[in-house]
């Protein structure tokens, strides 16, 4: 994959839920190695877009390409194995499995290697001491970290985070974002849905804004900050 080719291309995606137009001819590209913020008010279609990229939902129209290859209509596990990982807005982990099991179950290949990698990742998210606890025993913020570690276990190249900072304390929030940057330096691409403009402006290179399923703005953080129109939409100023 050349560095100029987008790692993800969204092309004219439409998704309807009955009368609700959740995504309305949405198109954009994501550069490999970037951190993109996805913003928009509640109900704008951000989570729906993640669901469509990861194959959890099928679009009514449009195409999704990952690394130049069309992935529209593929099954979630196929898309995941190609290297697209995600976390959920409402945490989805395996509560009655231990932390270590939560990671091992995702791993591929030899058991010893898988366990080693799982332990490395638990160290990375600072949860290695709790490796034999059930995931349900973790705090909300720790569960989010575990969920990110699961995505890393998958070796995902493109990682979609749905409101990762919501509902967790500032210390953990900073830790999480620092981790995102570190992984980004190692070459991973991120798309982050976030309500907190501070998080977006502080951590993302590019921003895409959705409203009523339509892309209403796209650009670098500074461009978006200057976009009066958008601020009006977003902050209701």
């Amino acid at each position: 994959m050349s560095t100029k080719e987008p790692i993800l291309r969204i092309e004219g995606v439409v998704k309807k839920f009955g009368e609700v137009l959740a995504l309305d001819h949405c198109s954009f590209d994501v550069k490999p190695g970037s951190i993109t913020g996805l913003i928009g008010p509640n109900g704008a279609g951000k989570t729906t877009l993640f669901n469509i990229i990861t194959g959890v939902l099928q679009p009514d129209q449009g195409h999704i390409y990952f690394g130049g290859e069309e992935i529209t209509g593929k099954k979630p596990y196929e898309i995941a194995r190609k290297g697209v990982g995600r976390t959920y807005q409402i945490i989805r982990i395996f509560p009655k499995m231990t932390l270590l099991e939560n990671l091992i179950v995702v791993g591929k290949g030899r058991e010893r290697k898988v366990i080693e990698k799982a332990m490395d990742l638990l160290h990375l998210v600072k949860l290695s001491e709790k490796r034999d606890d059930y995931a349900s025993d973790l705090s909300f913020g720790q569960q989010k970290l575990l969920s990110l570690a699961q995505v890393l276990m998958l070796d995902a190249q493109l990682i979609l985070l749905d409101e990762p900072a919501a509902g967790i304390n500032p210390t953990l929030q900073n830790e999480l974002m620092a981790l995102v940057h570190r992984l980004n330096e190692q070459g991973k691409t991120f798309i982050i849905v976030e309500h907190d403009m501070k998080v977006i402006l502080g951590h993302c290179e590019n921003v895409i804004a959705l409203n009523y399923g339509q892309k209403i703005a796209e650009g670098s953080c500074s461009e978006i900050e200057r976009d009066e129109n958008l601020l009006e939409h977003y902050f209701g100023r």
């Binding site: 959890v56 898309i79 989805r92 395996f94 499995m97 091992i104 179950v105 995702v106 898988v114």
Partner: protein
């Protein structure tokens, strides 16, 4: 806070001694006791086989009797009408049932929760009708059933089911502590999350379902050979589905040894205490099922693990 793990060597010794005792039973025990242990072992396979799929994936299979009945019928008819030896009739019944279960799983394992459970009940009831219908009398003997003699001694049948029960437990032990077993648990915990983490949930569910069908089917074939008789209402009876489920719930869903404990205890209770209460049997059973689900959902082993009386490991 964690207790030291049970001494492994002691556990192996205990299991070896128990196995030696079980192997020796036909040499010293009366037919009554051989029969009782045979039933315990049959229900151990039913309960463990149910647990292997439903306990791990969380897809409640209310059609266990379908595995038992289909395999029981195939093997019984092969022995009764086509002069097959039990040695071939049993595995043929189990393999065909397992293959059929792949087709069933392919269709039904896409439906979640209660709909899957209901579909399996409907499938079992429908198959019971099919085997009972007079139009197929030439093949199935219709509703009046099939008496037959397989020419196997009680002791041989006993050793066969002992071998199967041992293998079943070994398989359950291996699977629950394997990555495949963890994937099945992940399906139980959150199937969508499992799928977006790259797990082929449908394939894994079908494999576990088919393996469960094979083991339970094999036990079913042995069961009806032991009875020397099969008929539709017996082969596809809801009792054959519910009893192993209650046994598993009692011993501990998703544990390796819970179903054995449940099967042993409940077979004893059934034989010894309730031989005279047969009319009340199903209602008492239903009441126990409800109490277990409401107040004791983790079962005996689950409860002991929670209290850390036993180590919290999947291998128990």
């Amino acid at each position: 806070m964690r207790r030291p793990p049970l001494q492994k060597n002691h556990a192996y010794l205990g299991i070896a001694a128990l196995l030696a005792f079980l192997i020796a039973i036909p040499f010293f025990a009366s037919d009554y006791w051989i029969t009782l242990v045979t039933l315990i072992l049959i229900f151990t396979v039913y309960a463990s086989g149910w647990n292997l799929f439903s306990g791990l994936t969380g897809y409640t299979n209310f059609g266990l009797a379908w595995f038992i009945g289909v395999s029981g019928y195939i093997s019984s008819l092969l022995i009764a009408d086509h002069s097959f030896s039990w040695l071939f009739a049993w595995p043929i019944g189990a393999v065909l049932t397992s293959i059929a279960s792949i087709g069933v799983g392919y269709i039904l394992l896409r439906i979640k929760g209660v709909y899957f459970a209901i579909s399996m009940v409907a499938l079992t009831e429908g198959t019971r009708e099919l085997f009972g219908t007079e139009y197929l009398t030439a093949i199935t003997h219709g509703g009046k059933g099939v008496p037959f003699v397989a020419g196997i001694k009680l002791s041989s049948l006993y050793w066969a089911i002992l071998l199967l029960a041992t293998l079943t437990l070994l398989i359950c032990y291996k699977i629950t502590s394997s990555k495949f077993g963890l994937r099945l648990l992940a399906i139980r915990e959150d199937e969508l999350a499992a799928e977006t983490l790259g797990i082929r949930t449908t394939r894994d569910k079908i494999i576990a379902f088919a393996l469960s069908a094979f083991l339970v089917g094999l036990a079913g074939a042995i069961h009806f050979t032991y009875q020397n008789y099969i008929d539709p209402s017996f082969a596809f009876s809801i009792h054959l589905t519910l009893t192993p489920i209650v046994m598993t719930l009692f011993g501990g869903v998703g544990t390796v040894f819970g179903p054995v404990i449940g099967a042993t205890l409940f077979t004893f209770i059934h034989e010894i205490l309730w031989a005279e209460l047969s009319l009340l049997y199903m209602s008492v059973f239903g009441a126990i099922l409800m109490v277990l689900i409401l107040f004791f959902p983790q079962g005996l082993l689950g409860w002991m693990k929670e209290r850390e009386i036993l180590p919290r490991i999947r291998k128990i």
